[in-house]
């Protein structure tokens, strides 16, 4: 789709005026909503003719010259379909963009409402222009193209933990609740249709089965609508997962009911046997969907095990396998939505462990992008289809439907909650019930299902569609718009925005084990016990098969820690190389502050940093920076098929390795001497603190500073000093974590250099390099060791102007 737009744009600029004009006009249509009918068309057959005529009329001056070789040709037909699809996508994106430019509007009205309105406008324009409105919300298009991205996005990022914890409740709402809704609405509708003897309207002709079919279509809560509204109101996790989970899982019920009633409506009679078959069919549809999804999920995870050499196509596997899961499930009339959810949820933990960080980001962005475009398109199409649809407005039917929908939902939720609360430990309060009932939005799935109905079997199809659209509009507009103020009014607990901290992660795990342990002591096997069993099975067998290499053995906590560390490092890089502290650690507290105090330093006087002449400090800083720049540039070679060597991966692995070494080293040091931990950082340098924090030890530069001295006078400190110095991780880690790849390389260069020069030094992670160039450049300098300190500070603080001196000559690295 994007390629259509992309390829067209340059052509428009380079070629004929008319074509350019056309493009301009189309953009104008979208931006201003002018009366021109050109933009809105997606089905090739209808629009095509008119467009071609248009050009024929505009073109003759250019094109109708002779039979000579056509220098310029216009073949709109050739690109029509992709072009129009691109235009729709463009329209959707522009609309989304536009709404967020007007914050006041989007804070009052939910996006879904605005989009439907836009759809209505566009549809109206098309109609005004005398065109036939394309059947945009065609069921095939909807179910095969628009729906899967949204569901995959939901499934892949499904918060597994709350979902599993509330699975019983969700299933209750999704299965029993939907069944109740379908039969209640269907049954009462039928009753209402029968009790108007005086009224000569077509409602009399309604039979029970079409009513029930309609009930089953209209009763399902729509995931797309729920997502769109709930994402804006930031409700707490429990309510979100209850409503959203219900909307996802009720798909199986809807599918079965739909097919069941559709089938029987043709046949006319239903026997008990059919009912039993229906129940079995429900189980098959639901479990089959989950099974298909899980199989593809495992396949996807297994495939991602081997992608370490072709990182570029990693994200593709996720998308393709999921889509295939969806299609395979649909093929057997299983629940495609459940298959997608299962696929996403199953593959995610393993895939994430296997793929690179960049691929993960790609997956995240693609899913979000696709789902948000799909969502936007669905709502716009809903609007267009409303204008288009052959409507059969029947006051009684529509009003009764809307009222029944509301009543059924409320009764269903209250009744079910009463039952569920007998079993739940965290009970659902009245407020919760209200929000669950109120959040039961209907949406495009219902409409598409209604659209699928066969006109021959269901003469009331148009009335159904009208009623469905009314219900959808009612829920999306009235409920969607009022739910936000209501949430505020009722003071329903909101979601906390805070990121997950490492402490929380530790305690989540701790709590899991604790509760499992307590359950074991109590001697009964609750769900913690089974979860623990499952986890252990997962760790022991499944992970080994699906995750490549070392990471399969990595406990969750460590994985989390690595992820967090990486995030911080990336944040640091993005914030400009250490100018700003990462938000996770927004303070001046450093490792040193939490380490147990060691005896005071031997020479407290040396703690203060000696002053360097301002000019020199600047000079050194520049040198270091340009070196950094150079190494960084070296990595930026572009290749179409392989990404640039993933800096975070490689650098990060390296970093971890070095860190491990450092930890060992620290242990050694600890046994040796007290003189090691001299707090030396000037309080004004936050990066230093950061460095110290990242290195996991309190480092100071005194040992390094004293290296010279240690060579001269071999006092008992000497050895330990050296140890300290070669363990000085300040610079290394500080560089490595914010600017991973480069700095690691830089580090290595440094190290090589220093090894050349000072053979007698240890091999560790020394901070030698700065001292070497300094010494070489100004050999006579007596306080070179003190400069070294300064240098380190410079190095660890590239400053905000890191980019300005690329052309600086750097005399100090060979």
């Amino acid at each position: 789709m994007p390629s259509g737009a992309g390829s067209h744009n340059p052509a428009g600029i380079g070629r004929s005026l008319p074509e350019r004009g056309l493009l301009l006009l189309m953009v104008l249509v979208f931006l201003e909503g002018s009366v021109l009918p050109l933009g809105a068309a997606s089905s090739p057959d209808i629009r095509h003719q008119e467009n071609v005529d248009n050009h024929k009329a505009a073109d003759p001056g250019h094109n109708f010259t002779k039979k000579a070789f056509p220098v310029l040709d216009l073949d709109y037909k050739h690109i029509q379909t992709p072009f129009e699809i691109s235009l729709w996508v463009l329209l959707a994106s522009l609309m989304k963009l536009g709404f967020h430019l007007i914050p006041r509007l989007s804070s009052i009205v939910p996006e879904s409402c605005l989009l439907i309105t836009v759809g209505l406008l566009v549809g109206g324009l098309i109609k005004l222009a005398g065109e036939q409105v394309p059947p945009v919300l065609d069921s095939r298009l909807f179910f095969l193209c628009l729906l899967p991205p949204i569901i995959l996005d939901a499934g892949y990022f499904l918060p597994i933990r709350p979902f599993m914890e509330n699975l019983g409740t969700i299933l209750m709402f999704a299965v029993v609740g939907t069944l109740w809704n379908a039969f209640f609405i269907g049954g009462l509708l039928y009753a209402v249709c029968q009790i108007q003897p005086a009224n000569p309207n077509p409602l009399h002709a309604m039979e029970l089965l079409p009513c029930l079919l309609f009930g089953s279509i209209i009763s399902a809560v729509d995931p797309v609508a729920v997502l769109a509204v709930f994402e804006e109101i930031h409700i707490n996790e429990l309510l979100h997962i209850l409503v959203f989970g219900e909307s996802l899982l009720n798909d199986a019920v809807t599918v079965v009911l739909y097919h069941l009633f559709e089938e029987f409506a043709g046949a006319g009679t239903v026997t008990v046997m059919d009912g039993v078959l229906g129940v079995i069919s429900f189980l098959v549809v639901a479990l089959g969907g989950v099974l298909v999804g899980a199989i593809y999920g495992i396949l996807s995870a297994f495939t991602s095990r081997f992608t370490s050499h072709t990182r570029v196509i990693e994200p593709l596997f996720v998308f393709v396998y999921s889509y295939m899961a969806y299609l395979s499930a649909e093929m057997f009339h299983l629940s495609g939505i459940m298959a997608l959810i299962a696929c996403g949820a199953v593959m995610r933990p393993y895939v994430e462990a296997n793929i690179s960080h960049k691929s993960h980001t790609t997956i995240k962005y693609f899913l979000k992008m696709w789902s948000s475009v799909s969502e936007t398109l669905i709502f716009i199409f809903l609007g267009v289809a409303t204008v288009d649809g052959p409507h059969a407005w029947n006051w009684t039917f529509v009003t009764v439907t809307v009222i029944l929908c509301l009543v059924a939902r409320v009764i269903g939720v209250v009744g079910l909650t009463y039952v569920i609360n007998q079993f739940r430990i965290v009970k659902l309060t009245t407020k919760d019930q209200f929000i669950i009932a109120y959040g039961g939005l209907r949406g495009a799935i219902a409409f598409s299902l209604g659209f699928l109905l066969d006109k021959n079997h269901f003469p009331m199809r148009e009335m159904f569609l009208t009623a469905i659209i009314t219900v959808v509009f009612f829920t999306v507009f009235v409920q969607g718009m009022t739910i936000k103020p209501l949430v505020e009014l009722l003071a329903v607990k909101k979601k906390q925005e805070a990121k997950r901290s490492i402490n929380e992660e530790i305690h989540t795990q701790f709590l899991d084990h604790l509760l499992t342990g307590i359950e074991d002591i109590c001697g009964h096997y609750g769900h913690h016990h089974w979860k623990d069993k499952l986890n252990r099975f997962n760790k022991k067998y499944v992970k080994k098969c699906l995750i490549a290499g070392e990471r399969s053995k990595e406990p969750q906590l460590i994985a989390f820690y690595h992820k967090m560390e990486m995030k911080q490092a990336i944040e640091l890089v993005e914030s400009g190389g250490g100018v700003k502290l990462p938000s996770a650690v927004p303070s001046t507290v450093s490792m040193q502050n939490i380490q147990p105090k060691k005896p005071p330093p031997a020479k407290p006087a040396e703690r203060a940093l000696p002053q360097l002449p301002k000019g020199r400090e600047e000079e050194i800083r520049k040198i270091l920076r340009s070196n950094l720049q150079r190494t960084r540039q070296r990595l930026r070679s572009y290749n179409r098929h392989t990404l640039v060597a993933d800096p975070y991966e490689d650098g990060f692995g390296d970093l971890l390795l070095k860190k491990q070494r450092m930890i060992e080293l620290e242990k050694k040091i600890k046994d040796m001497s007290n003189y090691l931990t001299v707090p030396a950082a000037p309080p004004d340098s936050p990066t230093m603190c950061r460095a110290r924090l990242a290195s996991g030890k309190d480092t100071d530069f005194k040992p390094a500073q004293q290296q010279k001295g240690s060579k001269v006078c071999p006092d008992p400190q000497a050895y330990s000093m050296k140890q300290g110095s070669d363990g000085v991780p300040t610079i290394h880690v500080d560089l490595a974590s914010p600017q991973s790849p480069d700095s690691v390389n830089l580090m290595d260069e440094f190290r090589q250099a220093s090894q050349q020069q000072e053979k007698d030094e240890d091999q560790g992670l020394m901070m030698k390099p700065p001292s070497r160039p300094t010494g070489r450049r100004k050999p006579g300098e007596t306080d070179a060791d003190k400069d070294q300190q300064k240098l380190m500070r410079c190095l660890s603080d590239p400053g905000p102007s890191a980019e300005e001196d690329e052309d600086e000559d750097e005399p100090f690295l060979p």
């Binding site: 430990i425 965290v426 009970k427 309060t429 997950r500 901290s501 490492i502 402490n503 929380e504 530790i506 305690h507 795990q509 701790f510 709590l511 084990h513 604790l514 509760l515 499992t516 342990g517 307590i518 359950e519 074991d520 002591i521 109590c522 001697g523 009964h524 609750g526 769900h527 016990h529 623990d532 252990r536 070392e550 053995k553 990595e554 406990p555 906590l557 460590i558 820690y561 560390e565 996770a584 650690v585 303070s587 001046t588 507290v589 450093s590 490792m591 040193q592 502050n593 939490i594 380490q595 147990p596 860190k659 491990q660 930890i663 707090p679 950082a681 000037p682 309080p683 924090l693 996991g696």
Partner: protein, 220 residues
């Protein structure tokens, strides 16, 4: 136990008032207690140690220790018991009671504090009111103790990072010479705010006797 039926009944009622368990739950737990202790009046560490299901729990030691911790008995005592009776056992268990629909906000707050205090006490092994870095490292090490060699090294780094996080969220500005002694209870509360302990730290205590249920199943 020579107690007569009525005496045990009234004893159950008394315990129920103090711990908040229902008499049925207490009866269940008592059965389990007797099973664990081998029909003794008290239970020892060895008894708990021998529970097979606990064998794989990485924090088994802490869990067992928590049962013998006097601080968890609400009686302002410190130190640890050698053996505990049923009452103490129940007291410890009462920390894992779920909140009910009727709990008010204040009660919830108290419940949360109580649960957090329990956790805090598990970490604060020397009872000095703070979780020091050493103690915290120990906790993480135990957590990762089942994951082999990588665990130990990473544990330290994780504990350090976690400690740093606590320090930086609670005392945002520290001079380099300042020393953060450890996590106090207030800070502990602060950092675990997001976890909603009051609704999470609980298990389901059975109202019905499982053993009789099993019997019922076999007979019916």
């Amino acid at each position: 136990m020579g107690a007569s039926q009525t005496r045990t009944e009234s004893k159950y009622q008394d315990l129920a008032d103090r711990t908040g368990f229902s008499p049925e739950q207490i009866k269940n737990l008592h059965k389990r207690f007797q099973h664990l202790s081998g029909n003794e009046d008290t239970i020892s560490r060895a008894n708990l140690n021998s529970i097979p299901a606990l064998a794989n729990n990485p924090i088994k030691k802490q869990i067992i220790e928590a049962f013998f911790d006097k601080r968890n008995q609400h009686q302002d005592e410190v130190g640890s018991f050698g053996e505990i009776g049923f009452e103490q056992f129940l007291m410890v268990m009462s920390h894992f009671r779920p909140p009910t629909l009727k709990t008010t906000e204040e009660e919830k707050e108290a419940l949360r504090k109580e649960k957090l205090r329990f956790l805090f006490n598990m970490h604060d092994t020397d009872n000095d009111g703070t979780i020091t870095l050493e103690e915290y490292r120990k906790v993480v090490e135990e957590l990762l103790s089942k994951s082999g060699a990588i665990g130990l090294e990473a544990a330290k780094a994780i504990a350090d990072a976690a400690m740093l996080e606590v320090a930086s969220t609670n005392v945002p500005h520290m001079a380099p010479d300042d020393f953060y002694e450890g996590i106090t209870f207030e800070h502990f509360e602060q950092i675990l705010q997001g976890l909603e302990m009051e609704s999470r730290m609980h298990i389901r205590f059975l109202d019905v006797d499982t053993t009789t249920m099993r019997c019922g199943k076999s007979t019916s």
